[in-house]
């Protein structure tokens, strides 16, 4: 009999949970409003907290929360405190789409900070366009896109990939091996690189795409050995990087044997791969934890204070942090939280923020940021140090329209 009660208890508990879930479904809890009433303004944060992308996205989410807290402490935006609503994209594009609709329409947020992968961004793009809301996308990406409802605070290809290849050319590298994960960023990036290499007179000796969750890179490494490149241009993502570099190290290869130039390895990845293995390899970003600005010292200190000493900041983390401040600047310039007003303010091209990476400005036409480009080298202490830095900022050009070789290769998407 005792067992029966226990069973009934479970039934009751489960019913309660499920009922709670369903009952709350239709209602909209409206505490803060996006336009006017109340003394708070609601914004959305949409990142993967579960699934395979959580590895990368949580750090960005943390930076965004940090920025929101800082702004609230210093008086908020237009006299209102920011209240954030957080949703989990579960590393799944269609969940991202559902959650984006929920944030915009049910929660009525003023704007959303979020996404990491290109697939999640593309999945939510229509939602933002149809509901006319604004997404702040904090990650470097493959370009070839410019939605009026998205502000891209990460690097466009001409602020990361193109300068990196130019730098390689300058350093005398000639034979490139293109290695990437099998998804849209590496494929598009490599298309750009191939066109650029042709113009620069460099040779692409191999191109290889690894499966997204590939764990064994022996065959890939064998192909690299066969192709004998003098530099590997690496667009692998997250876990692929860890396996690749660990397995390169197994074969005694260091940066002296095969130099790599990576576009998706930031401070966090260095930590999970191990600095010893990555020592001497090159990366290309706009920001490093070591970037020497006054703002950065403050940012790094605040981030570590809030989330722990062993956490590191990286380019996407910083871009997420910037996004919140840029939104604040745009809102203040517009004098309103309304999406159209904010966009009008952005259109002026004067919204800027003294970011940890240096001063960044939103380009009024394509809503990307003008930002400095830095080539970095990984050192034994696990940090990345700048070896080359552009003078001033580089104007964003997501379609690479200002590059002759890109126009000639017809890289621009169809109208």
């Amino acid at each position: 009999m005792k067992k029966g009660y226990w069973k009934k208890g479970i039934v009751l508990a489960m019913t309660a949970i499920l009922a709670f879930g369903v009952a709350g479904c239709g209602k909209r809890k409206d505490t803060g409003s996006s336009n006017g009433g109340g003394d708070t303004v609601k914004v959305g944060i949409l990142h993967s907290l579960t699934g395979s992308m959580a590895i990368s996205e949580e750090a960005v989410r943390d930076a965004e929360v940090l920025a929101i807290n800082e702004i609230n402490k210093s008086g908020g935006v237009l006299g209102k405190k920011i209240k954030y609503v957080e949703e989990d994209g579960a590393s799944e594009p269609s969940t991202f789409a559902t959650k984006a609709e929920k944030l915009i329409d049910s929660e009525g947020v003023a704007t959303v900070f979020g996404c990491w992968t290109s697939s999640s961004r593309k999945a939510v793009k229509t939602a933002f366009e149809d509901y006319n809301n604004l997404l702040w996308y904090p990650v470097q990406y493959e370009g070839m896109e410019s939605s009026k409802n998205i502000v891209y605070t990460g690097a466009a290809p001409n602020q990361q990939i193109v300068p990196a290849i130019e730098y390689l050319k300058k350093k005398g590298y000639k034979k490139m091996f293109l290695l990437g994960s099998d998804y849209v960023f590496p494929r598009t990036a490599n298309m750009i690189i191939k066109a650029q290499a042709k113009a620069l007179g460099m040779e692409v000796v191999g191109e290889e795409y690894a499966d997204m969750d590939q764990t064994d890179f022996a065959a890939v490494i064998a192909k690299i050995e066969k192709a004998k490149p003098d530099v590997i241009v690496n667009t692998l993502n997250g876990t692929g990087n860890v396996s690749f570099f660990k397995q390169m190290a197994e074969k005694n290869y260091t940066s002296k044997d095969y130099m790599t130039m990576s576009f998706s390895i930031a401070e966090e990845e260095v930590k999970t791969i191990g600095a010893k293995i990555l020592k001497g390899h090159m990366v290309s970003w706009n920001y490093y934890e070591t970037t020497n600005t006054k703002e950065n010292k403050k940012f790094v200190a605040a981030y570590k204070k809030k989330y722990g000493k062993n956490r590191v900041t990286s380019d996407p983390v910083e871009a997420g942090y910037d996004a919140v401040y840029l939104w604040k600047a745009a809102v203040e310039k517009a004098g309103s939280f309304d999406v159209d007003d904010v966009r009008k303010a952005i259109k002026t091209g004067t919204i800027s923020f003294q970011a940890p990476e240096g001063k960044v400005t939103i380009d009024g036409n394509n809503q990307h940021l003008a930002k400095p480009v830095r080539i970095g080298v990984i050192k034994g202490d696990g940090l990345i140090y700048t070896t080359y830095e552009t003078k001033g900022t580089v104007k964003p050009d997501p379609y690479l329209k200002s590059y002759d070789w890109a126009v000639k290769a017809k890289l621009q998407p169809l109208e």
Partner: protein, 365 residues
Amino acid sequence: MKKIKKQGSNICFLIIVILLALVPIMYQYELIEASSTVLFIGKCMAFAIVAIGLDLIWGYTGILSLGHGLYFALGGYAMAMYLKLQRTGGGITDFMHIGGLKELPLVWKPFLSLPVSIFLILFVPGILAGVIGYFIFKNRVKGVYFSIISQALTWAAYSIFIALSPYTNGNVGITDIQSVFGSIKGSMNFGNLQILFYSALILLILVYAGAKFLTGRKFGKLLIAIRDGENRTYFSGYQVSRYKTFIYVLSAILAGIAGAIFVNFNGSITPNQMTIAYSITMVIWVAVGGRGTIIGAVIGAFLINMCEYKLSSGGLVEVWQYLIGAIFCITIIFFKGGIIGIVRDHLFASGRRKKAERRELRQNS
């Protein structure tokens, strides 16, 4: 009382249908404040259809497919390809351009017309399931072996879809599309959403009625016989593999239809829909709702998805992951019949069972 018991599931479904039919009206009277909620409930209807399909093969026939996401995604892709071509006006898409294609590939051509696309939504999952089912069931691969093979098959298909990115846009999938009836997002497009919503509802009713019709007849009994004693059914002179193949194809087609509806509501389809995890999630809906009853599948699909919608945000994310895991484990271990089973055992049968218990006690003493 007896009648309620007999017709219970149909009454239950009727209530669900009425509630669903009221959803858009409730929105107009501002009882539901966001049109995105309506949109989400639309997606749930698609999930309910695939759940019915899964229930037919798992709950009734005892074939556990861990790869129904594949058929769901195939139907979805077929729909999405049509919708994408509507957007581009028949021209090539941006990802084909990046992939280096100059003109529309042959596989995309049939999707220029709606009737052909609708035919393919049914045909492609159906024929694939037919071929796979024919060989697998003829060779008498059954039980968990089938589950593992279906899982591997989905995994393989997923890889192929990613590798053929000039044709499928890799892991981004087909995005940036509107529904068959035009844009459905936002209050100004609510008319379109309404048409789509009711069309999906009608499809759900049809599928439910069809499944009820099938399972209520001798055919349904046969499916259960296959589940409970495949060899005995075989020895009774039935070509088990044919029945199995038929029901497998049918459920694949249902999954395809569901995928097509889902795309209309969701506005994109990605290979993520054909992952193993996603496929198993579908099985979870059926298990929690109650396998072996069509209504259970419907209830499960709605309940789990709505809870997830509600509970997987903010600080609740962690809790939700533990919860869904625990709910799943507990239903499987203790409540094989799922929610429907609980309702049946505790609400309707309690009187009868108590009587039986008492009788047993008397006999023992």
